[in-house]
C-alpha cells in the first residue's frame, strides 16, 4: 500500500510541476482569466499541504536512516582510533599471522634461554668443583709451605737465648765456654724431638736443607753467618718444649755446665719468619 501511495505521490508531484508550468505559461497570457488562475492556486495549495506531510514523513524516515548510518560510522571511527596502533587497520588474519610469528620468536627465545641457562648451570657447577679443588689445593699448599718454612708462622712456644760463657771454668778451655754449631744442632734436634713445628735461630728459619755449621768464630745457618748471642725461637707446645730442654741431664744443664748462659722463656705468641733464601732444587727431581 505504502509503495503504491508513494508512487502516486511522485506522480502527483510531477503532475503539479506540469500544472505550475502551465500556470506560468498562462500567466504570460492576458489577465482576463483571473478566476481560473485563483482556482488553480487553491488546488495547488491543497496539494502542497498533502505533499508536505508526505514529504516530511519521508524525510523523517530518511533522517532515521541517516541517524543510524552516522551513529555507526562515528562509533566505528571512534573504536578504530582508540585501538592500539599495532592493531589498527589490521584484519584478524594479519593479527593471527603476527601472533604466530611472535609465538615462534618467543619459542626461539625460550630455547635460547634454556641453552644459556644450562651453560650457566654448567659453569656454576664447574666453578663450585673448581672452588673446592682450589680450596683443597690452597689448604694443601699452605700446609706444605708451613712445613717447608716458606711462610711466617706464629703460635705459642719457647725462646731460648744462648750467651757465650763470660767466665771460663778453671778446668776447661775457653773454647768449651763458647756456643758451638753442634750445640745448636743438638738444641734444634731436641726441640724437634719435643714437637717443635717451626724453629729459627737469629731470624734464620730452620728448614730441611738448613746447614748449621761452624764457620770460624761464627755459625753458618742458611748461608748466613750468625754470631752469639743466639736466639732460638721454637713454636710448639711450650710446656713440652721447655720441659724437654730443662730435663735433668738434658741439653740445657749440660751446656750450663760448660759455663754457657741459657735462658728458656715460654711465650704465648711467637712469630717465626719464613725462610727467605733460595729453595731451588737443582739436582733432585720429583718422582712421579
Amino acid at each position: 500500500m505504502a509503495k503504491k501511495s508513494e508512487k502516486t505521490s511522485t506522480e502527483k508531484s510531477t503532475k503539479t510541476t506540469k500544472v505550475t508550468k502551465k500556470i506560468d505559461v498562462t500567466s504570460i497570457e492576458p489577465i482576463d482569466k483571473d478566476a481560473k488562475k485563483e482556482e488553480v492556486v487553491q488546488t495547488k495549495s491543497q496539494e502542497k499541504v498533502r505533499i508536505d506531510a508526505k514529504k516530511i514523513r519521508t524525510y523523517i524516515l530518511l533522517g532515521i536512516a541517516a541517524f543510524a548510518f552516522t551513529l555507526i560510522i562515528s562509533a566505528q571511527l571512534n573504536t578504530v582510533s582508540n585501538t592500539d596502533i599495532i592493531a589498527e587497520g589490521m584484519r584478524e588474519a594479519e593479527l593471527l599471522s603476527e601472533l604466530a610469528k611472535y609465538k615462534e620468536q618467543l619459542e626461539n627465545l625460550q630455547e635460547d634461554y634454556e641453552d644459556s641457562k644450562e651453560i650457566v648451570e654448567e659453569y656454576k657447577s664447574n666453578a663450585s668443583t673448581n672452588d673446592a679443588l682450589i680450596a683443597s689445593m690452597t689448604a694443601e699448599l699452605n700446609a706444605a709451605s708451613a712445613l717447608a718454612g716458606l711462610v711466617n708462622l706464629k703460635g705459642e712456644g719457647v725462646v731460648i737465648t744462648l750467651y757465650d760463657s763470660t767466665t771460663t771454668a778453671s778446668d776447661l778451655s775457653i773454647e768449651a765456654g763458647l756456643v758451638h754449631d753442634t750445640d745448636l744442632v743438638a738444641m734444634v734436634t731436641e726441640l724437634k724431638a719435643a714437637g717443635a713445628e717451626a724453629i729459627s735461630i737469629n731470624g734464620q728459619r730452620i728448614i730441611a736443607t738448613t746447614p748449621i755449621r761452624c764457620v770460624g768464630p761464627t755459625i753458618q745457618i742458611n748461608s748466613v753467618k750468625v754470631a752469639a748471642p743466639y736466639y732460638i725461637k721454637a713454636i710448639g707446645n711450650a710446656q713440652y718444649l721447655e720441659s724437654a730442654l730443662n730435663i735433668r741431664g738434658g741439653i740445657v744443664s749440660s751446656l750450663r755446665s760448660y759455663g754457657i748462659t741459657i735462658e728458656v722463656t715460654r711465650q704465648s705468641d711467637i712469630e717465626i719468619e719464613k725462610y727467605d733464601g733460595s729453595y731451588k732444587l737443582r739436582v733432585a727431581q720429583v718422582v712421579k
Binding site: 508513494e6 514529504k55 541517516a66 548510518f69 552516522t70 562515528s74 562509533a75 571512534n78 585501538t83
Partner: protein
C-alpha cells in the same frame, strides 16, 4: 528545506551519540560491513531517485535489511571459518558502483537536456 534540516538534525544527533560509543574491537568487522550495506542502500536510493523510482519504504527496508544480512554473513563466516562476508562486500561494492554510474548518467543527461532547452528557447526568442 525542512526535509534537509530534519535529515541534518538526525545526522548531527547520530554523530554526537556515536562519538561516545566504543565498540569492542571484535565487532568492528561487523560494523564495517554494515556501513558498506548502508552506503549501498544510499547509492541505490540516489539511483532510484534519479530515475524517479524512489520509494522510502523500499529504501528503509533495504537499508536495514541489507545491513542485517551482511552482519549475519560475517557471523556465519566466522563460525564456518570462511570469509563469506566477502561476498556481501563484493556485491555491495559492485552495486554501489553501478548505482553511482546510473546517478552520474542521469545527472549528465539532465544537464544536457537543460542545455538543449536553453538553446531551443534562444532559437524561439
Amino acid at each position: 528545506m525542512i526535509g534537509t534540516l530534519i535529515v541534518i538534525v538526525f545526522v548531527i544527533i547520530g554523530y554526537v551519540l556515536g562519538s561516545d560509543i566504543v565498540v569492542p574491537y571484535a565487532f568492528t568487522e561487523y560494523i564495517a560491513v554494515a556501513i558498506l550495506a548502508f552506503l549501498d542502500s544510499l547509492f541505490g536510493a540516489a539511483a532510484a531517485n534519479s530515475q524517479k523510482k524512489f520509494s522510502i519504504v523500499i529504501f528503509i527496508t533495504g537499508f536495514f535489511g541489507n545491513a542485517i544480512i551482511a552482519i549475519f554473513l560475517v557471523y556465519l563466516g566466522q563460525k564456518l571459518n570462511m570469509d563469506i562476508y566477502l561476498a556481501a562486500v563484493i556485491v555491495f561494492s559492485s552495486r554501489l558502483f553501478n548505482n553511482f554510474s546510473i546517478v552520474r548518467r542521469s545527472i549528465i543527461e539532465d544537464i544536457e537536456n537543460k542545455r538543449k532547452e536553453k538553446k531551443k528557447t534562444k532559437i524561439v526568442k
